[in-house]
């Protein structure tokens, strides 16, 4: 590569700072007492919202690459995914320490018995191996399996949205539309992948070996 300004590398600190803004905003409101009547619920809702938004942003990278042909976008993916994990961890900590704090016996019952908490907790657990294996060294070591492992993100996205949908008050008819917006975005992001998967499947069965487009990205699987 010629020695030119690497715009992606140069923009990363800005994206990093951008991802920290929701946390700073939350901390500011918490410090100033401007979180409203039920501040703990606000902390939980807002940290949860940003987890889902960052998760969907991570999932948007691949379809955006296919649509725009701008492959360099993939270099933001790890940061966005790790920030999704970071906000999920903040969200879980707020629930366990600030909200449930003191009522420890309830924690296990809630995680095991309450479906919306079970799926939310499962989503967070599934993010751990992905966060651990997000380094370049782990990508190299895991090779093809890295991609297989990181397909867990689809389950994580689904669990995260279910977690939101199930916690709203109404049962049969969901009274609140916001979780459905997240569900719709998730469905679109997954649906956009289908034609690519289909082509890849046909390509690999016909030619007996993957076509150029299906080759793993150098950064993700250099083997």
């Amino acid at each position: 590569m010629p020695r030119r300004l690497d715009r992606i590398a140069a923009s990363k600190p800005f994206v990093f700072a951008l991802c920290l803004i929701p946390l700073a905003w939350l901390a500011w409101d918490a410090f100033n007492g401007t979180l409203g009547t039920d501040p703990v619920a606000q902390l939980e809702h807002r940290s949860g919202d940003w987890t889902l938004r960052l998760l969907l942003a991570t999932l948007a990278i691949t379809p955006l690459r296919h649509l725009t042909g701008w492959n360099a976008l993939i270099r933001y993916r790890r940061m966005l995914g790790l920030f999704a994990f970071f906000y999920a961890s903040v969200h879980l900590s707020l629930y366990l320490v600030v909200d449930l704090g003191g009522f420890w016996s309830q924690i296990f019952a809630e995680i095991a018995k309450k479906p919306y908490i079970t799926v939310g907790f499962a989503a967070w657990l599934l993010m751990i191996p992905l966060a651990i294996t997000s380094t370049k060294g782990m990508m190299r070591r895991l090779g093809r399996r890295w991609q297989q492992l990181h397909r867990l993100v689809y389950a994580i996205g689904l669990f995260g949205v279910l977690h939101f949908m199930w916690l709203v008050k109404s049962g049969n008819e969901i009274a609140v539309t916001e979780p459905l917006i997240y569900l719709a975005v998730l469905i679109v992001l997954l649906a956009l992948r289908v034609p690519v998967w289909f082509r890849r499947f046909r390509g690999s069965t016909k030619a007996g070996q993957p076509r150029a487009a299906t080759k793993p990205q150098p950064a993700t699987s250099p083997r």
Partner: protein, 328 residues
């Protein structure tokens, strides 16, 4: 601005507005003089009002009696109790009712009394209220969502009203209906729930001395977002039983259909008694987050939920022999 007039207090009972405001200023000054005491709950320069501030411009009510069944737990601030409401007629967010209820007109108002009673008909609210002396009751209010408040209601026992209309022996239940005015209640333009909102009680629950018809809170008339001009308060049941802006009270022989029960029968029962032993299918009811005092605290809000919301001594006998896990 609703200008509904309730019976006025004697002028000697009213604190002049200037003195009232001066007292509030004094409270504020005292609050500022001891900031160290306020920081304890993580509130540096909070916007939370003092718990005693009503900030209401609604007409004050004459209160004949205070204290019956009242709790002395720290009360929720007026601001919190009036800006954090579930009143889906004005929108599904907790802040919607305070924001979207400005165009609602709680007067003139009339209430229809119907069904199995000797006296039935449609009556102006003034006639409905006239014979009743108002009392203040400070009750715990437990929302099915897992939070709670402590609110000083002003009203009178529903039983006193029921007696006036002489229900017959066929009256086994009381069915209550909220107003339906999509033009004034923007939330009713969406089919979030099956409008109008309906609730009901068994006749013995309705006749229980704890069951209150409220016309006010914190000494003044109900704000629109809290169910003006007339609402139900059943302190041992989840908040959604407390139907707001009541226009119809019917005595029925069979158990009435109720709105949240129709929306999700497996989640919201007809009885809806507060019960830490019976979880909501999706979340625990063992504990609750108490919103009280200065209203802004990040830690230490969670308390154990009491059977019948702490009113078991008064009401548990209504349900003796009933399987409360089945009839939740």
């Amino acid at each position: 601005m609703p200008n509904f007039r309730f019976p006025a207090p004697r002028s000697s009972e009213i604190t002049p507005e200037t003195i009232y405001r001066r007292r509030r200023e004094l409270v504020k000054l005292l609050g500022l003089a001891v900031p160290g005491l306020l920081i304890g709950c993580g509130n540096g320069s909070g916007n939370a009002p003092a718990a005693t501030t009503t900030q209401s411009t609604l007409p004050p009510l004459t209160i004949a009696k205070r204290g019956a069944f009242s709790t002395d737990e720290p009360q929720t601030s007026y601001h919190d109790a009036t800006h954090y409401n579930n009143f889906y007629e004005f929108g599904t967010s907790k802040t919607d009712p305070a924001r979207n209820s400005g165009g609602f007109h709680p007067q003139p108002w009339s209430v229809e009394i119907a069904g199995h009673a000797e006296v039935t008909g449609t009556f102006p609210l003034e006639d409905i209220l006239k014979p009743h002396a108002f009392e203040e009751r400070v009750y715990r209010m437990r929302c099915v969502e897992g939070w709670s408040m402590v609110i000083p209601w002003v009203g009178f026992p529903l039983a006193d009203l029921i007696r006036r209309f002489k229900p017959t022996s066929a009256a086994k239940y009381v069915a209550l209906t909220s107003v339906e005015r999509p033009r004034e209640m923007p939330g009713q333009n969406r089919a979030v729930l099956d409008w109008p909102y309906r609730e009901g009680l068994r006749i013995d629950e309705a006749m229980h001395p704890l069951t209150l018809l409220a016309v006010g809170l914190y000494g003044r008339a109900l704000p629109n977002q809290n169910g003006a001009p007339l609402r139900l308060v059943v302190p041992w049941k989840y908040g959604f039983k407390g139907i707001k802006s009541i226009v119809r009270i019917e005595f029925t022989e069979t158990q009435p259909r109720t709105t949240w029960n129709l929306a999700a029968a497996n989640e919201y029962g007809f009885f809806a008694n507060v019960n830490p032993e019976v979880d909501h299918p999706r979340w625990s009811q063992a504990t609750e987050r108490r919103i009280s005092g200065e209203g802004y605290s990040l830690l230490g809000n969670r308390v154990l939920t009491q059977p019948f919301n702490g009113y078991g001594e008064q009401v548990a006998s209504l349900y003796s022999g009933m399987n409360l896990k089945k009839y939740f």
